[in-house]
């Protein structure tokens, strides 16, 4: 049973991000510090006000603390996998609730583009770390893992390549309205069909970007957040579930089992269910993940996500506008962090041309061997 007393007890008090794209003059530490300063300005705080520090993807928490001159009371670091953004935010609430800190800064820095990160090939560790065992068969990369899942979904349920293309195209249309997005040029479904295959059935445009950037968030009690500079956004509920056993191979249930558990806890804690969500932020590492996510989190029955998203449901103005920033596919691959920040901006009404009118509840979801979801609400307790 989720702890319902956590609902709306904690809030996002500050958000910040760097520019996105190719930023070769900055390393991951620089990007993290840049984002942190933006988030502190947003909250009206100084570095010395932070007493909890959660680092993600940046290589070393010790070095980071040295750079910003901070000795936080609580400090931790998490692996540089996108599934950890939701995890870190949930951990921040747990740390606050346990009284281990009062103001937690979450800092993410990623210089993957300039650092020459590659997914797939000899350095690939995706799939439970045992990836090298399968290189002799040419099997490698998170993209191929998701291509295998997509092919199975297509075969079992009749999901089409065009439906995945519609996800990609919709998010690109959103990115066109977002001045911060890296890829803003809209394309047609026909152009999607002609984009080259990377690992079939996935085209280049089904893959997220690789770029540089940093994101930070400040999380504290709802009570404290109300006294800070910006409008607080409540963490109304969250959930986590994992599917680690057997995770070398693509899950034959598309992670629906773990997703449904995380969904149930999220909806129970928040008291908010899918029909009440005004917008969705879906971890779009690859387009099929968006479809699996909608099924796992109860937006549509298993196997029906393809038809469900047709007719513009995920587009701004549709019934369930998703990834209004352009997401990982078109805004920036900030491994979930920028999607959480976009949720906060939507609920504060700061999204200009891409604003979801009257947004009150936004759900963040990531579907992976570690599933997380967070519901944000504009009304703080």
């Amino acid at each position: 049973m989720p702890n319902r007393s956590l609902s709306r007890a904690y809030a996002v008090a500050g958000i910040g991000n760097t520019r996105y794209g190719k930023l070769p003059e900055y390393d991951a530490y620089d990007l993290g510090v840049w984002a942190l300063h933006e988030a502190l300005d947003d909250a009206g705080l100084a570095v010395g006000d932070i007493d909890g520090l959660i680092i993600n993807r940046i290589a070393d928490y010790q070095r980071f603390g040295e750079i910003i001159g901070l000795n936080p009371r609580y400090c931790t670091i998490t692996p540089g996998q996108g599934r950890f953004s939701g995890h870190c935010i949930e951990t921040a609430v747990a740390v606050l609730e346990a009284g281990l800190a009062e103001v937690v800064a979450l800092v993410y820095g990623n210089n993957g583009r300039s650092g020459g990160d590659r997914y797939g090939g000899a350095s690939d560790l995706y799939g439970s770390g045992g990836a090298g065992l399968w290189f002799p068969y040419g099997m490698t990369s998170p993209g191929a893992f998701h291509a295998l899942m997509a092919q199975r979904h297509m075969s079992l349920y009749g999901t089409t390549s065009d439906q995945m293309g519609l996800v990609a195209k919709t998010f690109r249309d959103h990115a066109a309205l977002n001045p911060a997005a890296v890829m803003r040029e809209p394309y047609t479904l026909e152009e999607y069909r002609h984009s080259r295959f990377i690992v079939e059935p996935l085209h280049l445009l089904d893959y997220c970007l690789i770029n540089d950037g940093g994101v930070a968030m400040i999380i504290t009690s709802a009570e404290r957040a109300k006294d800070m500079k910006s409008e607080p956004v409540a963490i109304a509920g969250f959930g986590m579930a994992t599917e680690l056993a057997g995770s070398t191979f693509p899950p034959d249930d598309f992670w629906h089992g773990a997703g449904a558990k995380a969904a149930q806890d999220t909806y129970e804690m928040s008291g908010i269910s899918p029909p009440e969500m005004d917008g969705l932020m879906i971890y779009d590492n690859f387009t099929p993940t968006v479809l699996f996510c909608l099924e796992a989190f109860g937006y549509c029955p298993v196997g029906e996500s393809g038809p469900w998203i047709e007719e513009g449901r995920l587009a701004l103005g549709g019934a369930s506008p998703a990834n209004t920033s352009g997401g990982h596919l078109s805004e920036s691959y900030m491994q979930g962090w920028a999607l959480n920040v976009e949720a906060v901006r939507q609920l504060r009404g700061q999204c200009d041309e891409r604003q979801i009118e009257g947004a009150r509840h936004i759900q963040y979801m990531t579907l992976a061997p570690m599933v997380t979801s967070i519901v944000y609400a504009s009304e703080v307790a």
């Binding site: 045992g130 002799p136 990369s141 092919q151 690992v199 191979f249 693509p250």
Partner: protein, 140 residues
Amino acid sequence: MSVYAKPLPRLDDANAPFWAAAKAHELKLQKCADCSTLRFPATRHCASCGSTKSGWEAVSGRGTVESWCRFHQVYFEGFGTEVPYTVIVVRLNEGPRLFSNLVGASAGGHESEIEIGLPVDVYFDDVTPEVTLVKFKPAT
């Protein structure tokens, strides 16, 4: 004689019995000596019961295709002349899964036959004098 340019398995201690069996054209998986659960890749501990006692047992080599994909991107130089090539996930009749290749697929012979649930039989591909890869072909 042409040089084999694709990645070769890392012959570590844990998985050595798997590759030794393959060289002898046998498919063997690790089997828990306490609860009899089969597993692969090799681990010290059984994920079902936690036992550290295990051996290697020959399995049927029969299974079904759980999914497949086709690589157009070249991630390994040795595959450069072979793209697009197919990778399959095989669910062995005994339960465990393997990533592998469907023999004949890249030559076009069986490509159209790939479908989920396609029954397959193990095929041992002696790629070098030392190494045999565990591949699959459509069951006859």
